[in-house]
């Protein structure tokens, strides 16, 4: 029983670390034509990439390609920037973000089941 309990506690520790403590690396956006842009694919319940990093005071063009049929994936919200967009299925849709100050700007679906962030450095 002790081993089972230890396995259980280990699993709990793993959940805490994996979902809350681990800080995933963010994807740096490209900077062509002096406009920062990145493509984010929405498929199978996630944004890919979900974590984007960007330099301060740069506008960002995020090209969303929604391949996920779930109606939840159809809307993306940037609450801190008061920006939202309805994303068409299997089509590219650009969302322009204004130049941002240092900080983390979350984006997610209406239910917060699809989560991502733009980290401005």
């Amino acid at each position: 029983m002790l081993i089972i309990n230890l396995i259980g506690l280990g699993l709990i520790a793993l959940i805490v670390w994996w979902f809350w403590l681990y800080k995933p690396q963010s994807t740096q956006v490209s900077d062509e034509h002096n406009i920062s842009e990145i493509t984010v694919v929405i498929e199978d319940g996630i944004y890919q990439p979900a974590n984007i990093s960007l330099l301060e005071n740069k506008t960002l063009n995020i090209k969303f390609i929604r391949k996920d049929e779930s109606p939840c994936a159809a809307t993306v919200l940037f609450p801190d920037l008061e920006i939202s967009a309805d994303l068409p299925l299997n089509k590219e849709f650009s969302v322009q973000l204004p130049a941002m100050k240092k900080g983390e700007y979350a984006f997610h679906c209406q239910m917060k089941m699809y989560n991502g962030s733009v980290v401005v450095k």
Binding site: F19, D44, G45, F93
Partner: protein, 882 residues
Amino acid sequence: MLMEKIMKVNECELILEISGMGCKSCVSKIEKAFNALSIVEKSCVDFELKKLTLIGNIEKQQAISLIEELGYHAQTFNRANTEISIAEKSTTSLKKSSNCCCSSASKADEIIIAKISEPEGQKLAQASPLNQKNEQQKSKTTELIIEGATCASCVGKIETALSEINGVNSAEMNFALRTVSISGDVESYVLIKAIETIGYKARSASDISDDELLDEKEVADKKYYTSLMRQMWVALGLGVPLMIYSLFGGPMTVETSLERGVWLFIGILCVAIMYFAGKHFYIGAWKSFANHTANMDTLIALGTGTAWIYSMIVVFFPLALPEMARHVYFEATAMIIGLINLGLALEVKARGRISEAIKRLIGLQAKTARVVRDQQEIDIAIDQVLLNDIVRVRPGEKIPVDGVVIQGHTSIDESMLTGEPMPVEKVENDEIVAGTLNKSGSILFKATKVGKDTALAQIINMVKRAQNSKPPIGRLADIISAYFVPVVMIISIVSALVWLNFGPSPALAYAVVSATTVLIIACPCALGLATPMSVMVGVGKAAEAGVLIRNGEALQTASKITAMILDKTGTITEGAPTVTDIIIADKSYTKKYILMVAASIESGSEHPLAQAIVDSAIEQKIVPETISDFQAIAGHGVEAQFNDHKLLFGNQKLMLKNGVVLFDFVAKAQKLANEAKTPMYLAIDNKLAAIIAVSDPIKKDSVEAIKRLQANGIRVVMLTGDNRATANAVAKKVGITEVFAEVLPEEKSNKVAELQAQGEIVGMTGDGINDAPALALANVGFAIGTGTDVAIESADITLMRGSLHGLADAIAVSKATLRNIKQNLFGAFIYNVAGVPFAAGILYPFFGLLLSPVIAGAAMAFSSLTVVSNANRLRFFKPQEH
């Protein structure tokens, strides 16, 4: 010697060849000289081609003379020479740029000439290296619509700017259609930015319109619904028979070899179902896990996966488990997948109805417009309408874009936007708005706002943005959602450990059941959907009633308003006062003279009362005269000089301050004020000359709307700069008992703060520029849509019509929405707070009850459906009780 030849690209375009220009400063000298002429709309000089393009009604000879006067020589454009010159340049310096507005020596000019002088020119264009490259490279083509291109030479500028972008193979503009086709692997926003840099506007011709987006969404949702229903039938096809078998006492255990074989077969069938009907859960769960996130898929995949793995362990290694724990749960796996797919399918259907209001708004947009181009009326798609296009609208047609009537008169039904049922008469110079309906006459109007700039497009945008914003009440649910799934996973493990350590026999089976049930019953979706679904319906309902809510916070705060301040002029009253009385105090003046003097003083003012006096003078054909030393004294009136006479025009305070004796005219003014009129004293050389009274009629439904507000327990207060007696008289007429009168414009926000200090949650309603600070300070600022842009920008809620019923409607919708959100949140919280411990087996020690994973699956599937359906109830809410 240069040959003289004229070439007109279109009726108002003249192209001349210039000689004698030594440097590029000559270019601006010539352009300036022509641009100063009223008959020239635009002039462009191409320095390298020595070409001047003029748009307007200027005659050739006039233009040549002016150029001669400037010290240059001009003749009409020599096409043959230019073609040769361009052909040479096209092989050498196609990418050479110029700062000139008609860029030269570029591929752009080559194309213009090619179009004009085909077939030779066309051949030249085809022979260029750029086109050869074009043929070799197959790349995507982007189509942009250009605004602001007024002459054919602008084509060159635009094409050059585009051609200079890395990755662009070619750019060709169709001047007639104002479209440019760009070949190359470059994103449209890069192209648009390049065009905007040189002073034009551009938008993508392939931009998805709201209408198309909505249609596509409906098709996609329908497809998704069908696919979910198919998956549901597949899963329930196995789950239901197994469930019935179990309910009728069929053994779900593995005891004999035959049972092992049968359950193994069912287990494999179950894998097939997990693949065909539940694949999306498992892939989603895995991808989320790899991405360090967890969602509903994670819980379903873990729950159904645990049940299946445990069942397969029972099938393969029955002897390794205690006898009572040899129970299989394949029916749970299949049923859960089936039920959750059913729940999702029903949710997709229900969600479709949530956005009905926005669909209705989008549906107001016309698809085509009849524009006058080249003196012909042609039907074009709505997104091709350009600024300043002349548009024809016939009776029964929708207004396609915003504009100003230039010919004809009609009545327009604006009810779809404002909620105002009476059609509005429109004559020349009146503004009309896209989406409204032309009822009677045929009109021509000039497009002043097109595409995403029209009022309707902005309303749609605002409603969409507000629908996606969250009121503060939803923040707790958001915080919980962020931690929810991992917490449920932890509870599931803890529950299994508790059962294994302290549970009765078979503890392992109980542990598996409780862990699975906890994972399945928890529903983060219900929590996540609770607020946004209600906000979407609520904001949409408000828009239907002609109320635009800026965001979720305004929606929530509006439901809590305890005091409402109403500005008098333009809010309670029509804001269109008229002169009602002129009482002469000094018999040496006539009424006509008094009105002339008053109109002369007020002709520079934009205040509605001043406007009333000027309008009254104009009506009586009295021409205001020039005054001097005009000085406005805030809260008092004005002081000025007229033909060596000192004029004072304003209230009693102004007269007393200047020592003007008022005699018994104070009582007369008081009498006028008691009749809800505004009396103003006019003194000439510090001697009272007359009293002029102005009255602003009260809006016909103000009394009823104020009663609605008061019936909701809201303290209604009137605010005005007008004198106390008039203010009290108006207040009495509309049933308001509290009045802030004689308030200076800058003091309006102080009055808001005053009520806030008394603990009130204050709504402020106004329409003027001077209301803006008060609107911004109030807990909720309401702007009357017929008011100034500044007021609308400062407000949280805009009433699209002038009626105060909009206020009561906005508050009613906001209260109903908040009530709905609370119901949803309560349901979602209670469901999870009660469901998860129940699933973990908290009732087992007391009542011997342990929930089946199948029941948990059904409960979970329908919990989010319940939330969406409850939000849908709001669609039937009617805010207008008048």
